[in-house]
Amino acid sequence: MQIKYDTGPFYDEAFDKQGTPRPHYQNFIERLDELTEAEFNRKREAIDLSFLQQGITFTVYGNQESTERIFPFDMIPRIIPKTEWDHLALGLEQRLKALNLFLNDVYHEQKIIKDGVVPAEVLNSSKHFRKEIMGLDVPRDIYIHICGTDLIRDDDGQYLVLEDNGRCPSGVSYMIENRQAMKRAFPRFFPKAGVRAVLDYPEKLLSALQYIAPNGKRNPTVAVLTPGVYNSAYFEHCFLARQMGVEIVEGRDLMVDSDDCVYMRTTEGLKQVDVLYRRIDDDFIDPEVFRKDSLLGVPGLVRAYKKGNLGLANALGTGVADDKVMYCFVPDMIKYYLGEDAILPNVETWLPYRKADLDYVLENADKLVIKAANEAGGYGMLIGPHATKKEVEEFKAKVKAAPREFIAQTPISLSRHPTYCDEGFGGRHIDLRPYIICGEKTRIIPGGLTRVALKKGSLVVNSSQGGGSKDTWVLNADS
């Protein structure tokens, strides 16, 4: 099968402006040439069916009855050559290091505020700033143990950081399942392609979790804390628990006893839990401290955490670094804590809480992307150039009413990637979410989740809004 389409004004991952395949795509494109369309479709259908039967699905909300769908998978892998990846890895490590230093600082001395690098008003108005843990020393001073930074590329192919996702980044199970699917689909080609392994992610995660056990306890009991079967990422929570060989628990499986330790209810009685990989937001995790009406959390959990009887990953309060307004200050944090320039730049961003930025944003709303500062998953977002006049006006009103709750960015036209669609191969916009684990060492998983906007021309890659995904190949070499 031949891939041929107009690459247009965009940066295409696989082809240069003349339409010649880039060297690191050469091998795969040759393999694809050998396949007939029927063979290609057979492989594709086999993958879809196995995803559906294994129940690798996510839940879509909003309809009356929430429905399960498979995350559409595209068989053309996104390929990253060695040099390019090494650069990304350095940038990601630098960024996470600065974020962890920042979190430690804002929950202790707040030097960065006192030195005027991050404005106090931004910190104090951040929804996810948790005063409850001021002064608390978290195990090993690590706050973000698992990070899923979103990266995009602009027209020139330059990588930019879109957001940091330092709370509970999801999608890593798709990274692993996509890889398994590709290995099954191309059993002879894959071993020769020189692709770096990602399948050891669960082991790396487990060792990072064990590393934060209270008092350095050996062989600690680790568990994954999930909001439950109705959560959209439930499949992933189970998947990780199973791969790590640990229990998956819901809030109702846990209790905090009078000794301020956390226990799970088992058929043999109570059993102590030392470390939780929690996939529940701060707000819901402990009704004694945060939302009183939460049925998902565990009363007393924060008490146990503060007493040092529990390791939590990610730590409480990391959302303050995840705030899209705070995001703007990350390059300044890197400079402040590490004395370095940011290796990976941010997207140009305006902060309407500043009067001058607000005026600019209101005037140019139809040319900008406006996002809610604390929403995720592509909800609460305006893409100015694609919106109707009415939508733009409605959004402007929202921004005016609560400027701190929004940010605005220049639309980046995201790089495109060959993707198999209804009309054959076409270029579709993509992003990249690599995963970083911070334990005894910081490990950047060589790969990640490449999300693709399957709808022609669309820039929204979120699974909830018609996005799909691809396997991401990081090569041992440059071609």
Binding site: Q54, G55, Y230, N231, S232, T266, G377
Partner: protein, 336 residues
């Protein structure tokens, strides 16, 4: 093992067993009606009514349906989501339970449940019910058998396995009682004793328990009510007899508690031991005639109470309203 996991294993197994038994009943009844000479809706309904009563579903059916034809009843028992014990409700509930513990069960177990659920959703209720689609019933029965086979061959024979056995065998014992109950309702309906009809009914009951051939091997003579009851209640080796199922539950419970079967270590074990003794040592006259109805009723009650005791002992968890909980899980999705 987490209490919640034990609970889900128990219910997953129970729902699958329930779906299989319902399909068996519908299948046998439809087959029997095919043979009957007078086929009109009234005759058919008279035939279905005892089955609906024994399942405890008669009132719900009569409120949901105005027509009572040969299509509506199977539709109600198989495809109606408002009927919590319809086959689709059971398989969907089994799947929800399996989904909650999919990290604990083998992927083969999960996949066969998931596949069957997706398949069932695609079926056309009207076609299945009007045509009395044999291959449909066979599919569900084979699913249940495949599932049980996978439990045996892919799931570690540890404590979780025992909870699966408990769930399946409590349900099976209960359903065998209810099928016998159905015959009891049939008896009340006919005023004059009709030997041919009686014989056909007992045959249907045996087939409803997959017990026809096994019975024949033990009792060569005519099919007789007393013998069928004896067989379905007290056979020591037929896997769907009530006594057999109860003994299997007892084995599983004592494997969990590690207490010898000659003693008991909790209320569930005590009640079960008592029930087994009651059935095992029942006076032959209690197994036929008027007394048997009382005996079967008391077994059903005991089974319900034993299930409660098991859940008190092993699965204690606070009752959470699933609807309210679902509401929160949606809003608490972290950075997606």
């Amino acid at each position: 093992m987490l209490c919640r996991v034990a609970d889900s294993l128990f219910w997953m197994a129970r729902y699958i067993e329930r779906a299989e038994n319902t399909v068996r009943l519908v299948d046998v009844t439809l087959q029997t009606l095919l043979e009957s000479e007078h086929s009109n809706d009234e005759v058919h309904y008279a035939h279905w009514k005892p089955i609906l009563s024994s399942l405890g579903d008669l009132a719900l059916f009569e409120t949901l349906y105005s027509e009572k034809s040969n299509t509506e009843i199977p539709e109600f028992l198989i495809f109606n989501r408002e009927n919590p014990s319809s086959v689709i409700s059971c398989i969907s509930a089994a799947r929800e339970n399996a989904r909650m513990i999919r990290d604990q069960i083998s992927s083969e177990m999960w996949e066969v449940i998931n596949r069957t659920y997706l398949w069932l959703k695609k079926q056309d209720p009207e076609a299945v019910c009007q045509e009395a689609d044999y291959s449909f019933f066979q599919h569900i029965k084979e699913f249940s058998q495949l599932f049980q086979g996978l439990v045996d061959t892919t799931f570690p024979h540890q404590i979780g396995f025992e909870f699966v056995k408990i769930g399946a065998n409590i349900e099976r014992a209960d359903k065998t009682c209810r099928i016998l109950d159905a015959k009891h309702y049939m008896l009340q309906q006919t005023e004059v004793k009709d030997d041919a009809l009686d014989n056909a009914q007992w045959t249907a009951i045996l087939r409803g328990c997959s017990a026809h051939e096994a019975y024949r091997r033990v009792f060569v003579a005519d099919i007789e009510g007393d013998n069928v009851r004896e067989f379905l209640l007290r056979s020591r080796d037929f896997p769907r007899s009530v006594l057999y199922c109860l003994t299997r539950v007892q084995l599983a419970m004592h494997a969990i508690s590690k207490c010898p079967t000659s003693h008991f270590s909790n209320e569930a074990e005590r009640r079960l031991g008592q029930l087994i003794a009651k059935l095992n040592y029942a006076n032959p006259s209690d197994l036929n005639g008027k007394e048997v109805g009382k005996l079967i009723e008391s077994i059903e009650e005991d089974l319900g109470e034993i299930a409660v005791e098991i859940s008190k002992r092993y699965m204690f968890s606070e009752i959470v309203d699933p609807a309210e909980e679902a509401d929160q899980t949606q809003t608490s999705t972290a950075s997606a």
